[in-house]
């Protein structure tokens, strides 16, 4: 036998179709012997009947109209916000087509001028390379000339030195001859005297 509190709890759950199957027997046997719980059950049933019979007013149509008016306004505002939000997410050039055109033209001009500059620069570099090549050749020729000139100069110097040495030798020979001549003259005179 369960207590009245437990029985009433199970009764309420069973009445709301939330009870367990195995509790039904316990409830039935308790209700047979307990008038208080039977009264509780009857009151619970009557209470539900009374509440169902309480007339329910209907919702005023102005509530729905006002609600729809507010939601319409809010929706328009949200759409506008969403449009602005989406717009702000777009790249700058998509938002301003004229700017896109101007940017395109500027980019094309920049590209063409860059290409022209590159072409001119390439030409210039080619010319400079040729000039450099010519200069190198000239330099080589000049070096050869210089070497020839140096060799010539060396030979000339050698000749001068040789000439000077010969001149010095001749002078020395003349000096020696003169000394020889001077030293031999008294002896000759002696011999001639004797």
């Amino acid at each position: 036998m369960i207590s009245c509190d437990a029985c009433q709890e199970k009764l309420v759950a069973a009445f709301d179709k939330e009870g367990r199957k195995e509790d039904e027997q316990l409830i039935s046997s308790h209700l047979k012997d307990c008038c208080e719980c039977r009264a509780f059950y009857q009151d619970m049933v009557r209470l539900r009947q009374q509440l169902v019979s309480v007339p329910m007013p209907s919702l005023s149509p102005t509530v729905g109209q006002e609600l729809m008016r507010i939601t319409h306004t809010d929706s328009l505002r949200s759409n506008r916000r969403g449009y602005d939000k989406n717009r702000s997410r777009q790249p700058l050039l998509l938002r301003f087509p004229r700017l896109a055109w101007a940017s395109g033209v500027a980019a094309a001009l920049l590209l063409v001028s860059s290409w022209l500059a590159c072409y001119a620069l390439t030409q210039k570099v080619g010319d400079l390379k040729q000039q450099l090549q010519a200069s190198r050749q000239e330099l080589a020729v000049a070096r050869q000339d210089l070497a020839v000139a140096r060799a010539e100069e060396q030979r000339k110097e050698d000749r001068d030195r040789e000439q000077k040495a010969i001149t010095a030798l001749y002078l020395r020979m003349a000096e020696l001859e003169e000394r020889v001549e001077r030293s031999s003259s008294p002896r000759m005179a002696f011999f001639q005297r004797n």
Binding site: Q8, E9, V12, A13, D16, E18, F40, Q42, D43, M44, V45, R46, L47, R48, Q49, Q50, L51, S53, V54, P55, M56, P57, S58, L59, S60, V63, G64, E66, L67, M68, I70, T71, H72, D74, S75, S78, N79, G82
Partner: protein
């Protein structure tokens, strides 16, 4: 629109489809109004609550995720609004409301006790039942309205009230006991009204 489920309609409302939201309103307006009316027994309060609930639903549509039943989600909004309004009102009035009274006091003080010995008409009995409902603590009243009058399961009521199923079950028993106590003066008429219906 009639063939769409509630969740599908909410999905459309998320995409700014006003007609989908209107259909949701048509489907639930009377239930939400009845919910507030049964909780407050005040037409104006019930209408304001209904409007505010759907406005909150409209504003929260972007965050809505169809993880559970739509009706649970909607009644959660309604319940939160009801409790929020009650707290605001209690703070404003700075005095205890009938619904917030001590349970012991409520059970000892029957509804309209001065009329206990006088004959009671059917309309008066209904008024007494409504008054008794209004005098239930809010936690018990919410459980009673959801399970008894909205016909929800304990599980769904527990989801709406954000509490365990066992709590819903015990609160329901407490609510029935308190209502019995409050309607004690009308016991004879109460029994007579529904006599023979068992």
């Amino acid at each position: 629109m009639g063939t769409y489920t509630d969740e599908e309609l909410m999905g459309l409302a998320q995409k700014q489809d006003i007609s989908a939201f209107e259909e949701l309103f048509r489907r639930y307006e009377q239930r939400i109004f009845a919910f507030f009316w049964r909780l407050s027994a005040n037409r104006q309060e019930a209408e304001d609550g209904t409007q505010e609930t759907f406005l909150r639903l409209w504003k929260a549509r972007v965050r809505y995720e169809p993880t559970g039943r739509f009706s649970t989600y909607l009644f959660q909004i309604a319940k939160n609004h009801f409790l929020h309004e009650r707290q605001k009102r209690d703070r404003r009035m700075d005095s205890p409301q009938p619904s917030a009274r001590d349970p012991a006091e409520l059970s000892s003080e029957p509804a309209s006790s001065d009329r206990a010995d006088s004959p009671v008409l059917a309309g008066e009995l209904q008024a007494a039942v409504t008054e008794a409902m209004a005098r239930l603590p809010e936690t018990l009243r919410l459980v009673y309205v959801l399970t008894e009058q909205e016909g929800m399961s304990y599980k769904q009521a527990a989801e709406i009230l954000d509490c365990p199923v066992g709590t819903v079950s015990s609160r329901k028993v407490q609510a029935v006991r308190k209502l019995r106590g409050l309607l004690q003066p009308f016991k004879d008429e109460f029994s007579g009204e529904s006599g023979g219906t068992e």
